[in-house]
């Protein structure tokens, strides 16, 4: 086989060119950046699956890390107490108050209001006298244990011998002059020490001022 001059010239030029191209292709194929690029260019389904798996893992770790809430009902001694964790218990909401508790809170607020008022001495002395007189005539079965007035309120503590007397005291005094403007009643049902505290509002004032 005889090579022409042209063919020889071409072969001399082709060898370095092919070598350079081969080296370039190999370098491109084995470079680390190329691998990263391939990973980034991975199909989106794979990424979605990966994210979902990670989310599941985070959720599982969170659930394990949360403190368990146990509700311990107040049961008489000796009775078994439920210890199951209350997964769905509303831990942040306070328990609903009973009507008695709410009424007691209203009475406490009235006491705070009375205690915080300054004393209008001139009005207070006369009002206490009127209240004592009114109770003795309108509710003779009732004893006045204490009576005092501030500025807009008077506090009167009454003692009773029987529950019927305690229940009926409001009916007896409501229409009598010192009590006409308004009275709030707080009952103490302690056996053998029945007491009712009356908060009497002064004329021209309101309970909800």
């Amino acid at each position: 086989m005889i090579a022409t001059d042209g063919a020889l010239k071409m072969r001399r030029w082709l060898v370095p060119a092919v070598t350079a191209v081969t080296v370039g292709v190999l370098a491109w194929a084995f470079l680390p950046q190329r691998r990263v690029a391939q990973r980034v260019a991975a199909p989106p389904e794979m990424l979605v699956q990966e994210v979902q798996a990670l989310r599941g893992e985070v959720g599982r770790l969170r659930a394990e890390g949360q403190p368990k809430v146990y509700i311990l009902p107040t049961t008489p001694a000796g009775e078994p107490v439920a210890t199951a964790p209350a997964e769905n218990a509303p831990s942040e909401q306070p328990p609903e108050r009973t009507p008695e508790q709410r009424q007691k809170e209203a009475a406490d607020a009235m006491e705070v209001k009375f205690e915080s008022e300054p004393i209008d001495a001139a009005w207070s002395v006369k009002m206490v006298r009127d209240i004592r007189d009114a109770i003795s005539s309108a509710a003779p079965a009732t004893r006045v244990l204490q009576a005092s007035c501030a500025t807009s309120l008077c506090r009167v503590v009454l003692g009773h011998d029987a529950e019927d007397d305690q229940r009926g005291v409001a009916t007896q005094v409501a229409a009598v002059k010192p009590f006409q403007e308004g009275v709030f009643y707080d009952y103490d049902h302690a056996p053998n020490a029945l007491k009712t505290t009356l908060y009497v509002v002064r004329q021209g004032y309101s309970f909800r001022d």
């Binding site: 308004g182 709030f184 309970f207 909800r208």
Partner: protein, 155 residues
């Protein structure tokens, strides 16, 4: 500008709805009341009236939402007696029949429609009672009457 007006209208309407939802007022005809001496009292479409010179007592009741805070009791009355007033004792009562707030209100003069109003302190009501004394016919034949009563409460 129109958008701002529309938004303001929506806000006002929401506030009105919220206010309406938080407080409730129930009105009752005085015809629902019982009376102490029925011979003295005439029931008309206007309410309870005295038909003789003798006065009469009427007992009225209302049942707000259980455990609600009754914050106003109001009676609409007519006092046409020139010497005696029409008076109502209003009570907020617990579920076990203990009065927790009382007041007594009387008409101030012999005029047409008057409102007798009691604003009780904060309470947990079971029911509301009114006990009213209606003066009898006076020498000029004036008829006194209880027409309606209303109870406003907040659940």
């Amino acid at each position: 500008m129109k958008i701002i007006r529309s938004l303001a209208a929506i806000v006002l309407a929401s506030a009105a709805v919220a206010t309406t939802a938080s407080a409730e007022e129930r009105g009752y005809s005085a015809l629902l009341c019982s009376v102490s001496a029925s011979s003295n009292v005439v029931r008309t479409y206007l309410g309870l009236e005295t038909g003789t010179p003798a006065s009469a007592h009427a007992f009225c009741g209302a049942a707000p939402i259980v455990g609600a805070d009754v914050n106003r009791i109001q009676a609409t009355v007519f006092d046409r007696n020139h010497t005696d007033n029409l008076c109502c004792t209003m009570s907020v009562v617990t579920a076990d029949s203990f009065a927790i707030a009382t007041a007594s209100r009387c008409t101030s003069d012999s005029t047409d429609s008057q409102l007798l109003t009691f604003i009780p302190p904060v309470n947990v009501a079971g029911s509301v009672h009114l006990q009213c004394t209606i003066p009898g016919l006076d020498f000029m034949g004036g008829v006194s009457r209880i027409a309606t009563y209303r109870v406003r409460s907040t659940p």
